[in-house]
Amino acid sequence: MTAMTTMTTTTGAPPATSVTTADASVQLHLDGAWLTVCAAARLTPGRGVAVLLPDGRRQAALFLDRTGHLYAIDNRDPFSGAAVLSRGLVGSADGRPFVASPLLKQRFDLGTGRCLDDDEVGVGVYEARISP
């Protein structure tokens, strides 16, 4: 996690940030404040992790892509109701990263939460950053 990558934000994407140091931590923006969730070193490019939010019920799925961009979306797969999106595979289509649900493989844009296979479905997105 020592890559020095400058973020570029695509339209509609939540702020992502560049990874700076090995002991950096990952933060989510919730209710006007930044919540530290884990060390940046816990993330593997191309995979996600689940985060339990303070209400003890809602969950976020955090992803790191191969260029060091960070993304966070709701972890609940709207098609199955199960909290599994963090366990899906990250891919990219037309240069935009997505995660494919591990259950029935519907894809969700990591920047916007929009489902790429069903215009009427989407998931929430969170701002995420890496802070030293």
């Binding site: 593997t44 199955s80 199960a82 891919g91 990219s92 259950l103 029935l104």
Partner: protein, 859 residues
């Protein structure tokens, strides 16, 4: 439909009646042609069929011995028969025709009054009048019933058989005897094999190859007498050269004769050498009576014994009946082209194969070493007139279609093997639009190219549904569906990527994507299709390319589907199921108790699987390491139920306990399961071993199934259950233990190398060029010279196998990912909850709202 009382004359019926005598391949084709002409709507159609089963593929009769069942040989669609209201009477041959009263009487006593009568009675095998020809153990080779009788007799009474006749059917029959495990002789009166199709050079190439395959061929020799023992059963045959062959089964396959007795009895005209005389519309001397197929002598004076001309006659007769006097359909003779695979040797002949045309010239290429012989017959002006191909019939489709025209390159370049100074192989694009691509159904290149896909071609034109020899050419003529690529990221197929990874030793997905991916996908993330596919290829080749075999290391971790990532099977509510390996389905009571204890302790739903193991459901992700620690401690390993990998090798209890068993099936199943455990493949692999032919382990529904014989093991491949069940095909017989394992090694590695992503062995076997025969050539006869390499790859796999769960538990870094939440590792997922059912748990579904992909509303 057979049980109704004999039907009296139906003179009162308002519609006309058409009676068809004979329901073979040509009869069935005729019915289809009737339906196409709309005649089934205006006629009552009644069919009298002598055989106890509806029309089947007689051409492929020998494939019964490689595992095709009589049902699979059927060419009759019962829906078609019902839809068109055709009355089909099986097992009830016509016995008498009264042309004056226009009635047909059947053996069961049906009397049918016809307006139109069609004879499609086929032919009967010719049995030369040698003494002893009716002894027990003498057979002909014509029907499924013949085949079943030969099989039954051979099993009980025979070790060596002889086929009288070395023509096309004789070689088919010889293949059948070999398939039954008999020592096989072929006795042919002519100086060469297949005298009607090939010339001396082709016959010689064929002879060499067949002799090399263990057949004893006696050409230029007649059969004088069948010698019998005291019980009247065959014990030997004496030949015209004075020698005697010790055989206990004889199959006569010395040609066929038109079956024209019904016609003779009612005084229809027949040819001098047999065959009901018909005109160009297939009408006999009585305009109300037609004859088609092998029972007829066509307008050109010939009796055609091939199915393609029979089909053409069927079409012609149907068109003639529909059009009445305005008919312009005509059958004036047919091409005798054939392409076959006989005893594993490709043989083709087309056009003027014997060079009978005045002033024609031969161009020939012969290579005795490889058993290849190719001859083209060319007219003085360069027109291609015909040819013979033995050993390599690759160019058959193109050459046959070019027959009658001057090929765009000199003839000699058409027979030279690639790389021997030959011009680039003449592609199908060189064919003229009116070139006939499918001979069986007389379909031109232009008609094929009017369709977009092979299924469409088959549906719309019937091309490729006869003998199937043109399917390859059709594939080449169709638009290559633009993009055969694996996904949006790679333009290559899985097989091509496999070769790139193997030869360039690419052990990294990123490197593969950035160097070999589509331009637009380079530098990207890949996608959910290519990542697991490439991960599987890298895992299959790991030892050979220097990659780590552990699927969760480094970059590979990010490629695996969630099941591989967590080494468990994700279920619908986000919980996982756990399947420990139980090799061969054999388990000690102590280990069984451990599974029970673990399940009880963690409250897991417990179910016996179809593969003879136990599935434990409802584990949360953070419980997986704890559960597996207990299982590994008790000696269990990963069952790879989560992977595209070997699942189980089922077994029956075998010789050790079962009174029918002939081999130790449990031991073999365990050996195989331990050998191939963890092997990553394009799709999951299932196997089974049965201890005798009763097949209690259901091995023929598996990707590779093993069935014990008295002398070893039979290996079946390409079986499948599921949505598209398929019986596995016999790959090889009576193998010893080492031979069986070696062949499975090769088969699996060849499959892994050449299959598409998520393509089971059954679909793969059906898809690849040459099918089972090709696979057998490669893995049994080593035709590509890659067997040593395939074996080495498998040896690497076996050497480097490690239990993924034991490795995971031993490494804290690897264990770190098995947490519910990165910020609350111990907190259970609140959405994973269960309710009781039948004394166990099930997912609490009200928590979930499972919806199909379509029509979903917003979150």
């Amino acid at each position: 439909m057979d049980t109704d009382a004999p039907v009296a004359a139906m003179d009162t019926a308002p519609e006309k009646t058409l009676v068809l005598i004979g329901h073979g391949m040509v009869g069935q084709r005729f019915l289809e042609a009737l339906a196409e002409q709309g005649l089934t709507a205006t006629h009552r159609v009644v069919v009298l069929c002598e055989e106890p089963r509806p029309a089947y593929d007689r051409v492929q009769l020998t494939s019964y011995f490689s595992g095709r069942t009589p049902d699979e040989l059927s060419v009759t669609d019962t829906e078609f028969i019902e839809k068109h209201g055709i009355e089909l009477h099986l097992g009830d041959p016509a016995e008498h025709i009264d042309r004056r009263a226009r009635t047909v009487t059947s053996r069961a006593g049906r009397t049918l009054t016809y307006d139109t009568l069609v004879l499609a009675t086929g032919s009967v095998p010719f049995v030369p009048p040698v003494p002893g020809k009716d002894a027990a153990g003498c057979f002909v080779y014509r029907t499924i019933e013949d085949v079943l009788a030969i099989e039954a007799y051979a099993k009980e009474n025979a070790t060596t058989g002889a086929v009288v006749g070395g023509g096309l059917l004789g070689l088919e029959a010889a293949g059948a005897l070999q398939g039954l495990g008999l020592g096989t002789h072929i006795v042919e009166f002519a100086p060469r094999l297949m005298p009607a199709q090939v010339d001396d050079g082709g016959g010689a190439a064929l002879l060499r190859t067949l002799t090399g395959r263990g057949l004893a061929v006696h050409t230029g020799t007649g059969t004088q007498e069948i010698l019998t023992d005291e019980a009247g059963a065959v014990r030997a045959m004496s030949l015209s050269d004075g020698s005697e062959l010790d055989v206990d089964l004889v199959v006569f396959s010395a040609g066929v004769r038109p079956r024209d007795q019904l016609a003779r009895d009612c005084a229809l005209a027949v040819g001098e050498r047999g065959g009901i005389t018909v005109d160009e519309r297939c009408r006999t001397s009585d305009p109300a009576v037609y004859a088609i197929g092998e029972c007829a002598q066509a307008a050109d004076g010939r009796v055609y014994g091939l199915v393609a001309p029979g089909y053409e006659m069927a079409q012609t007769a149907a068109a003639a009946i529909a059009a009445g006097d305005d008919c312009d359909a005509a059958f004036t003779g047919a091409d005798m082209s054939t392409k076959l695979k006989l005893l594993g040797v490709d043989v083709a002949s087309f056009g003027d194969a014997h060079g009978a045309t005045d002033g024609c010239l031969d161009v020939a290429y012969a290579d005795s070493r490889s058993g290849t012989y190719k001859k083209l017959v060319v007219g003085a002006d360069g027109t291609l007139l015909g040819g013979v191909l033995v050993g390599d019939t690759e160019a058959y489709g193109t050459l046959r279609a070019l027959t009658g025209s001057v090929p765009p390159v000199p003839a000699e370049q058409l027979v030279l093997p690639a790389g021997a100074g030959a011009a680039p192989a003449l592609g199908p694009e060189a064919l003229p639009d009116d070139a006939v691509v499918c001979n069986c159904h007389n379909v031109t290149k232009a008609a094929v190219q009017a369709c977009a896909t092979l299924p469409e071609v088959k549906k719309c034109t019937k091309a490729g549904t006869g003998c199937g020899s043109c399917v390859k050419l059709i594939g080449q003529l169709l638009p290559q569906s633009g993009d055969q690529g694996l996904c949006g990221c790679f333009a290559q197929t899985r097989q091509e990527l496999y070769e790139i990874v193997r030869t360039l030793r690419v052990a990294s997905f990123r490197e593969l994507l950035d160097r070999h991916g589509r331009e637009s996908a380079r530098g990207g993330e890949g996608c959910e299709t290519c990542k697991p596919a490439v991960a599987s290829v890298i895992a299959s080749l790991a030892p050979a390319i220097g990659a780590d075999g552990y699927v969760l290391d480094g970059e590979q971790a990010a490629l695996q589907d969630t099941n591989d990532h967590f080494l468990a099977n994700l279920q619908k509510n986000g919980s996982y199921s756990v399947v420990p390996r139980i090799p061969g389905g054999e388990i000690t009571p102590d280990k069984l108790i451990v599974i029970g204890e673990v399940a009880r302790e963690f409250g897991l739903y417990t179910k016996i699987t179809g593969g003879q193991r136990i599935d434990l459901f409802g584990a949360r992700v953070e419980q997986l390491p704890v559960i597996w620690a207990r299982l590994v401690d008790a000696g269990f390993e990963s069952g790879h139920a989560y992977g595209k990998a070997l699942r189980t090798v089922k077994s029956c209890v075998g010789q050790t306990w079962c009174r029918y068993g002939v081999q130790d099936s449990v031991r073999m199943a365990i050996d195989l399961e331990l050998r191939y455990r963890g092997l990553r493949a394009p799709h999951k692999l299932k196997s089974a071993v049965s201890g005798c032919a009763r097949e209690c382990a259901e091995a023929r529904s598996k990707d590779f199934g093993v069935i014990a014989t008295a002398s070893g093991w039979n290996l079946y491949v390409g079986g499948n259950g599921g949505a598209t069940p398929r019986h596995a095909d016999l790959l090889a017989q009576d193998l010893d233990d080492a031979g069986l394992v070696r062949l499975i090694d090769r088969f699996l590695m060849f499959y892994i190398r050449t299959a598409d992503r998520l393509e089971r062995t059954s679909a793969w076997l059906e898809r690849i060029d040459g099918g089972l025969d090709h696979v057998r050539d490669v893995v049994v006869d080593d035709s590509l010279g890659i067997c040593a390499e395939l074996e080495a790859l498998m040896a690497d796999h076996v050497t480097h196998y490690r239990d993924e769960w034991a490795e995971t538990l031993a490494d804290p870094d690897r264990l770190a990912r098995f947490v519910s939440f990165v910020n609350a590792p111990e907190a259970p997922d609140p959405l994973v909850a269960f309710v009781p059912e039948r004394g166990q748990i099930k997912p609490d579904l009200p928590l979930l709202t499972l919806r199909p992909l379509e029509g979903s509303s917003a979150r």
